[in-house]
């Protein structure tokens, strides 16, 4: 326990050092570039203080932008989680269905979410447009994770259950599902990350005022690169925080897999 605490402190200290080093390098580069379009870390920090204190040019608070983006991502992600797990279960359990649909599924998987934006503009309006792009981004990692997880379930466990007289619902929900769950949750974590990355691109096309992507777009039009970087950093920090949260959840959920820890 003590060793873990010492190690945690060490990791924290190292990260502080690396952050400071990055700050120095950035500052040095900015001075060398000597351009008003390449802000120094100090001016970005000032921009941060400015938007926190006074809001953006239209008077919207930073947290309102964050909130709008988060809601869109969570709705799109929730839809992807439900559909991705459901379809992944079907395809994972029924190999024949996958084999006969892979000619459409597999190519779709490689179309980047951003490539769907023109179609989304044509076909959808408002909120559904964002949700759709997020859904596209998050769906495939979840689908693939679910299918991979099902394949990883030990056939012996299915056999043991059958030997005890288990029927199909028991095998699907009490053997295959928990066995595949680590991969399903890992797929969700990746899917949420991809979805969060897509939000900026999705919001850049929307007509709404709120959203981190919108915020960055507005300031890009005003050539306020410092504010654009504020948006970038905010997106990065929120993505990092949600990922850490899900990792923590994974560790709690899958304590039985501790053996793989090195």
């Amino acid at each position: 326990m003590r060793a873990a605490a010492v190690r945690g402190l060490r990791v924290f200290a190292l990260n502080v050092v690396v952050l400071a080093a990055a700050w120095v390098v950035w500052d040095f580069t900015a001075r060398a570039a000597h351009s008003s379009f390449f802000p120094s870390p100090v001016s970005v920090a000032q921009a941060f203080r400015e938007i926190l204190a006074a809001g953006d040019v239209q008077g919207h608070q930073l947290w309102a932008h964050i909130g709008a983006s988060l809601v869109r991502v969570f709705v799109g992600f929730a839809a992807a989680a439900v559909t991705g797990v459901a379809l992944g279960m079907v395809l994972g359990l029924k190999r024949g269905v996958y084999d006969s649909t892979k000619s459409i599924l597999e190519p779709m998987r490689f179309i980047p979410p951003i490539a769907w934006i023109p179609l989304a503009i044509v076909l959808l309006r408002g909120f559904s447009r964002y949700a759709f792009i997020i859904w596209i981004g998050a769906f495939f990692p979840i689908l693939v994770g679910t299918m991979a997880g099902i394949q990883r379930v030990s056939p012996l466990l299915v056999e043991v259950s059958k030997a005890f007289g288990a029927r199909r619902p028991f095998i699907v929900f009490k053997v295959v599902t928990p066995g595949a769950l680590p991969e399903i949750v890992a797929g969700m974590r990746i899917g949420l990350g991809v979805g969060w990355m897509c939000i900026v691109a999705a919001e850049m096309i929307g007509g709404e005022e709120l959203g981190l992507g919108r915020l960055m777009m507005n300031y890009a039009d005003l050539l306020r690169v410092d504010m654009v970087i504020v948006g970038m950093i905010t997106i990065g920090i929120i993505g990092y925080a949600t990922n850490e949260l899900l990792l923590l959840l994974e560790q709690r959920l899958f304590a039985w897999r501790r053996a793989v820890k090195v």
Binding site: E159, A163, F164, G165, L181, W256
Partner: protein, 251 residues
């Protein structure tokens, strides 16, 4: 009484191999039978047919009791086959859970069973925290707790080291004597068979047939290297090699 009259051939796609033709075997209630044979002789297939995990090409198995087959059978595999996300306690209750049992009656039976296999205090452990011998004891507890009329064991101790295996033999006999259920135990290990069984059935050939059906009429606890035990072992080895065409040499 369990009566086996079965033929098993693999399908043409799987090579069309005939595992056994019209194999006949009767097992009286309460008997501890070891089926001995070289690896690949079809002894596991026979066990899986008895357990309903595979179907015979022709014939089948009739049981001397009414009701479903699987509900009355406990199966122990070579690997413990524990559910890694379930604790020891939850693993042991698996069969009862599948049967739809719950409540204090279930808890009492699981706890009693954990006492019998000496795993009290380990209820909350996950399989990765157990040694190979402990994991196999959980698998045995899981099979016995449903109070099966028939226990099928497919080389359950093959993956264990010699000492653990010897302990497990003693443990298994203790549990078996407490319940007095029919046990069909598949092994390629001759001294294991003589130490455990009331009766040893030797399978050999391709298609496989019963080469010998030997009663082991020795008092328990048996000795590992007793003269009588060794005499039985030698007889089994004789039958195992008798008439075996020069096959691929195996350890």
């Amino acid at each position: 009484m369990i009566s086996i009259r079965a033929t098993k051939r693999f399908t043409e796609q799987a090579g069309g191999l005939s595992v056994f033709e019209d194999l006949a075997l009767d097992i009286p209630e309460g008997e501890f039978v070891c089926i001995v044979g070289r690896s690949g002789c079809g002894k596991s297939t026979l066990l899986r047919i008895i357990g309903g995990l595979e179907t015979a090409t022709a014939g089948g198995v009739t049981f001397g009791w009414s009701g479903g087959r699987t509900a009355q059978i406990g199966f122990v595999f070579q690997e413990p086959g524990l559910f890694p996300w379930r604790t020891v306690w939850d693993n042991v209750k698996l069969g009862l859970e599948i049967r739809g049992e719950s409540g204090p009656a279930l808890a009492r039976r699981v706890n009693d069973m954990l006492d019998i296999v000496r795993l009290r205090g380990f209820e909350k452990y996950y399989p990765y925290q157990l040694s190979g011998g402990m994991a196999q004891r959980v698998a045995i507890a899981r099979a016995f707790v449903i109070e099966p009329d028939l226990l099928l064991m497919d080389e359950p101790f093959a993956a264990l080291d010699t000492h653990t295996r010897a302990d497990m033999h003693v443990e298994l006999l203790r549990v078996w004597q407490a319940f007095k259920k029919t046990v069909v135990f598949v092994t390629h290990n001759v001294d294991e068979a003589v130490f455990l069984a009331d009766r040893v059935v030797v399978l050999a050939g391709r298609p496989a047939s019963v080469r010998a059906d030997l009663a082991i009429d020795l008092p328990r606890p048996r000795r590992r290297f007793g003269a009588d035990e060794i005499a039985h072992q030698e007889e089994i080895v004789k039958w195992l090699s008798a008439g075996s065409e020069p096959q691929t040499s195996e350890a």
